[in-house]
Amino acid sequence: MADNKYLVGVFDDEDEVLHAVGEVRHSGVKIHEVYTPFAIHGLDRALGYDRPRMGIAAFLFGITGTCCVLLLTFWTMGIDWPINVGGKNFFPWPTNVPILFEGTVLLASFGMSFTFFVLEGMGPTAKPIIFDVRSTDDKFVMAIDLSKNKLSEAEITDILKDSGASEVNVKEV
């Protein structure tokens, strides 16, 4: 293995890591990813991430669900096997609302979950890189891919130390 070398800055506090992200990026270092035990408000903005476009996926999956279910109910109730229920129309619109809603929500949520798993490379066989196990406990970890940065290892280490990292480790993957 060992084809990629990462610098791992460990921070003690969420405010520190939030400030450090800005400082590190300001000095021209590209950050691979930041790992935290809990969600930090504003971290995605500090990292310069685009707004998530999951909503578009949700809409597309949702509208697919609506159409599929509408086709199903229309075909079964209206065409293939119309049943007289209490003298109502064969295809009354109010009865379709709950199932249309359910179908929309079902496909939207499943679609979003699968989209997320695929995009993030998550799955039963995925082998995630653990930069520092303490990032699931009480440390805030910033990983920097050295191969994607022009600055040298020593320079980046200094930048990380200056921005408040309590320790800087090297991780080869």
Binding site: L18, G42, A46
Partner: protein
């Protein structure tokens, strides 16, 4: 690094309720009364300006509309069953009272559930919603007066007619008689007084603690307010439903729906939240509430968006169940609104869906539109108007019957109520700093950022 370095404005802000705007509001309130009189005069002369208004007053036969009421109306005798113009005016006053009572009490509801949830973000807007319940007293007293006067009481509530629950009386109605354990004069009076009295009293406590907290600081008043909030929520959990049955559902005495309490509360709640949002936006336009940032608006917008959908869910679920079961004694309610009284309530009923769900849903769905005052005003305005129509179609068919319409009388009554409401809210706002300066969560709210 804009995310946590945004400037925190000063928390010293005082709303100035100028005597000019005070007099403008009072003139508007008086103008509303004049409009009602003018509208009534014109209609009496046979001139109709509004829509869905009837030409020519009081053809009594139409009062004997479909279903259960027919028998009672036919036996009316000396009772006043045929609807007149007075019915319409009383219906308007009753309807607007219920609507504004709801908006006022939701100010308290909002504070209470935020206290109990230990929510920090709405603290910058707390004083705005805190000002709302001061108005409870006005619609509350109007409701009590309308119920206390026998003639208006009979106009609004079919079940208060003489002898309707006495076996052997010519007005006897078996279905209504079985409800006498709940719908009787003493119990109803107690309930009505309890709603207005307890809601208002609990608000005065919250208000008192809020003012005292600003003088003395500390967390003592925070805990006291939270206890009052718990009591309020427990009380409101029951009374929000019972008040819905009493103030709105018992107008159509024969009919009942087990979902009505929620439906009514959902309508009140989303209208109240929209009113809070509107008040915040107007104050911001005038240069106040600078500490209320986009994130606060976004969160409140989410609540409005969510509860607009919740209202639609309950509104539709109630309809769907009745549609499915197709029981005549239940479908009569919608029958009356779809085709009853020459179909004059078809539009007010259906406009509900557009103004309260479809339009706000599209407007408030996107993240950015919940952060922009223009879109919020559009969405919240639609909700406020829409829920006015919601209460209109709940009350009018039962009280105004074939005399209902949308015209000068409706505009006038609503103008009076709205002006008085703004007057009361403005007065309360000007009495204290616009932020609860020593609220323990104020700092969190000032830095609210999503």
């Amino acid at each position: 690094m804009a995310h946590n370095t945004h400037e925190i404005p000063s928390t010293e802000e005082r709303f100035e309720f100028t005597s000019e705007s005070k007099s403008k509001l009072l003139i508007a309130a008086a103008l509303g009364v004049v409009l009602v009189a003018l509208g009534a005069f014109l209609l009496n002369k046979g001139w109709s300006i509004g829509v869905w208004e009837s030409h020519g007053a009081g053809h009594g036969a139409a009062a004997g509309h479909e279903g259960g009421h027919a028998a009672a109306a036919a036996h009316g005798g000396g009772e006043h069953h045929g609807a007149t113009l007075i019915n319409r005016i009383i219906a308007n006053i009753w309807m607007n009272s219920v609507y504004f009572l709801g908006i006022s009490v939701v100010g308290m509801f909002f504070i209470a559930y935020n206290y109990v949830a230990k929510a920090g973000w709405p603290v910058t807007m707390k004083r705005v919603s805190e000002a709302f319940p001061s108005f409870i007293i006005v619609p509350g007293i109007i409701l009590i007066i309308l119920f206390a006067i026998p003639s208006t009481r009979h106009m609004i509530f079919h079940w208060t007619h003489h002898g309707i629950m006495e076996k052997g009386s010519e007005n006897y109605d078996k279905i209504i008689a079985t409800k006498s354990w709940y719908l009787n004069m003493p119990f109803f009076t107690i309930r009505l007084l309890a709603y207005v009295g307890v809601w208002y009293y609990l608000w005065t406590l919250i208000r008192k603690y809020s003012i005292a907290e600003e003088q003395e600081g500390g967390v003592e008043y925070y805990y006291k307010s939270r206890n009052v909030s718990k009591i309020f929520l427990l009380f409101f959990a029951v009374t929000s439903s019972t008040s819905a049955w009493d103030l709105s559902m018992s107008i159509d005495t024969h009919w009942f729906s087990t979902m009505f309490g929620w439906y009514h509360l959902a309508s009140w709640h989303v209208a109240g939240l929209a009113a809070i949002m509107y008040a915040v936006l107007i104050l911001k336009d005038k240069g106040y509430l600078r500490a209320v940032n986009e994130s606060h608006l976004h969160d409140l917008g989410k609540l409005i968006f969510g509860f607009s959908i919740f209202w639609t869910y309950v509104w539709f679920a109630q309809y769907l169940l009745i549609f499915y079961a197709n029981l005549p004694e239940e479908t009569i309610y919608f029958r009356e609104r779809f085709t009853g009284h020459d179909g004059r309530y078809w539009w007010p009923f259906h406009i509900n869906f557009v103004l309260n769900f479809f339009f706000p849903f599209l407007i408030l769905m996107a993240r950015d539109s919940k952060r922009r005052p223009t879109f919020l005003k559009l969405g919240c305005g639609s909700i406020l108007v829409g829920h006015w129509f919601d209460f209109y179609q709940m009350h009018m068919p039962g009280i105004a019957k074939d005399q209902g319409g949308i015209g000068i009388i409706e505009w006038g009554t609503t103008l009076t109520f709205a002006s008085l409401f703004i007057y009361f809210v403005g007065t309360q706002l000007s009495k204290a700093n616009l932020y609860p300066k020593k609220h323990p969560f104020l700092e969190e709210s000032l830095h609210h950022d999503i």
